[in-house]
């Protein structure tokens, strides 16, 4: 038995994509021209498959803050948050995020993945707590559950009724009497761009004495009156227990955070292994995220632009007869009938100079094959003309992509 046998099935798929000429999972951007343009294989393309929702990657304030931090604090911290890698800049960013979100405290992790992995694995313990997760939660939430060792129950996507039913099943069971309950959902889901009914989930969680953890990785900066996410838009940000986010989307850096009003959040600093046993974010990463946060707080126009762009693209796709997976939002996913059509359509689009994401099962909910497009505040009208024209030509070429004429 070879170590490598288990990879065979997916290797066949992966190799088939490479042999077809273009592998969507190995695209290399040779030159980055700006927040919405890059050179791939010698050709300029429009980037419409990043998570650069507010388009701040090249903002002068952000870039110069990162440059200054490297000069003043060095290239890396060479230490962990727990032991020897916490700088004043990490603590200042924690305070800035807590103040922006309106929580009493915040912990900065080295990636968004580790923020969820660390928080969930530390908050829940085997035999003491049960975790309830939305079926469509991101891999880092699943991995956090696994690392915690606590019993984990999946509930149907975006269904507070289903969560209620699954919590009720355990309510009468002696085995679970007195155990802690943690419910995990996301604000906006990254694949389809659909949004959680956070208020209804909060009601159900409270009814059963459960804590609510909301991952706003993709919705931070974009949703809500002041960019504080889906929970702000739905008026429950002050009531949820834990708010997690990432620096790698609207904050255009790398790192992550968890915020809360529970004073006990600070216990994670000596309990969450993905916080304790990895290097802290580099000074440049921290400075870039801090500067981007200031832009988000000061410029509501960024949100207006990303939403105007999202509405324009969504309306155009609907007119083309394409099936979108959610109402207008920064992620606009188009459903295609099968994996083969989705791959052919993805290749067609990149040949037309438009980069989006191909997402296929098992990486997608409901075994859907989709083209995931993300809109940026930095997309110009020219960028969006190119995107919409390319999708129009794609809809002509692949008639099966259209659900309406």
């Amino acid at each position: 038995m070879s170590l490598f046998d288990k990879f065979q099935k997916n290797a066949v798929l992966y190799n088939a994509l490479s042999e077809a000429g273009r592998n969507p999972f190995t695209v290399q951007m040779d030159e980055i021209l700006g927040p919405t343009r890059a050179i791939v294989k010698g050709k300029e393309i429009v980037l419409a498959g990043t998570n650069n929702y507010l388009g701040l990657t090249f903002r002068e304030e952000v870039v110069s803050a990162a440059q200054a931090a490297v000069a003043e604090q060095g290239a890396g911290t060479t230490g962990s948050r727990f032991a020897n890698g916490t700088y004043a800049s990490h603590k200042a960013l924690e305070r800035a995020l807590a103040a922006f979100l309106g929580f009493s405290r915040c912990i900065v992790f080295s990636t968004g993945y580790q923020a969820n992995l660390g928080a969930i694995s530390a908050l829940a313990a085997p035999g003491k707590d049960v975790i309830f997760i939305d079926a469509d939660c991101h891999a880092c939430i699943y991995d956090g559950c696994q690392l915690s060792g606590a019993e984990t129950v999946r509930f149907r996507h975006n269904s507070p009724e289903d969560l209620d039913r699954r919590l009720s099943r355990l309510d009468g069971d002696e085995k679970y009497a007195g155990m802690g309950k943690l419910v995990c959902i996301e604000g906006m889901y990254s694949m389809f761009g659909d949004v959680a009914p956070a208020k209804e989930f909060l009601d159900v969680a409270r009814r059963h004495g459960a804590y609510l953890f909301v991952d706003e990785a993709h919705s931070f900066g974009v949703y809500g009156e002041s960019g504080r996410g889906v929970v702000e838009a739905q008026g429950v940000i002050d009531e949820i227990d834990f708010y997690s986010g990432t620096f790698s989307k609207s904050l255009v850096s790398i790192g992550g955070f968890v915020a809360s009003n529970h004073p006990e959040l600070d216990y994670l600093r000596f309990s969450a292994r993905p916080y304790m046993f990895t290097a802290s974010p580099s000074p440049a990463n921290v400075a870039a995220a801090t500067a981007a946060l200031q832009c988000i707080a000061a410029e509501p126009d960024l949100r207006k632009r990303v939403w105007a762009n999202a509405r324009r693209v969504h309306e155009a796709f609907t007119q083309l007869g394409l099936e979108t997976c959610a109402p207008p939002g920064p992620v606009i996913a188009v459903k295609l009938p099968d994996r083969e059509t989705a791959f052919a359509a993805w290749s067609f689009l990149i040949d037309k100079g438009v980069y989006v994401n191909l997402a296929i099962p098992p990486g997608t909910p409901n075994a859907a094959s989709i083209l995931r497009l993300s809109v940026s505040a930095a997309h110009t009208n020219d960028d969006l003309d190119i995107v919409i024209d390319a999708y129009g030509a794609m809809a002509e070429t692949f008639a099966q992509a259209r659900v309406t004429a």
Partner: protein, 87 residues
């Protein structure tokens, strides 16, 4: 004994009914059928089927308890154990 045997068959048939729409290769389903190797069902779909089973039996089947489950027979046994425990 007869009761247990019958119950066993019912759970087995119920699981087969839930798996049939995903049995694209028309494999004959037995207790030894491996969900991933024989039926080529991906990990997410296995979890979705487990949700249907939970609702069918009004039972809680934590993700961890089935992560070691590979065959239909193991799934049937796990459901029996949980039914007994949560009865």
């Amino acid at each position: 004994m007869a009761d247990i045997q019958e119950d066993d068959d019912l759970v087995f048939h119920k699981i087969c009914a839930l798996l049939e729409p995903l049995n694209h290769k028309g494999v004959k389903l037995t207790r030894d059928t491996d969900l991933v190797a024989d039926l080529e069902i991906d990990s997410v779909s296995v979890l979705d089927i487990v949700m249907d089973i939970e609702d069918n039996y009004d039972l809680s089947i934590p993700v961890n308890t089935i992560s070691e489950t590979r065959t239909i027979g193991e799934l049937v046994d796990a459901i029996h154990a949980l039914k007994k425990q949560q009865a």
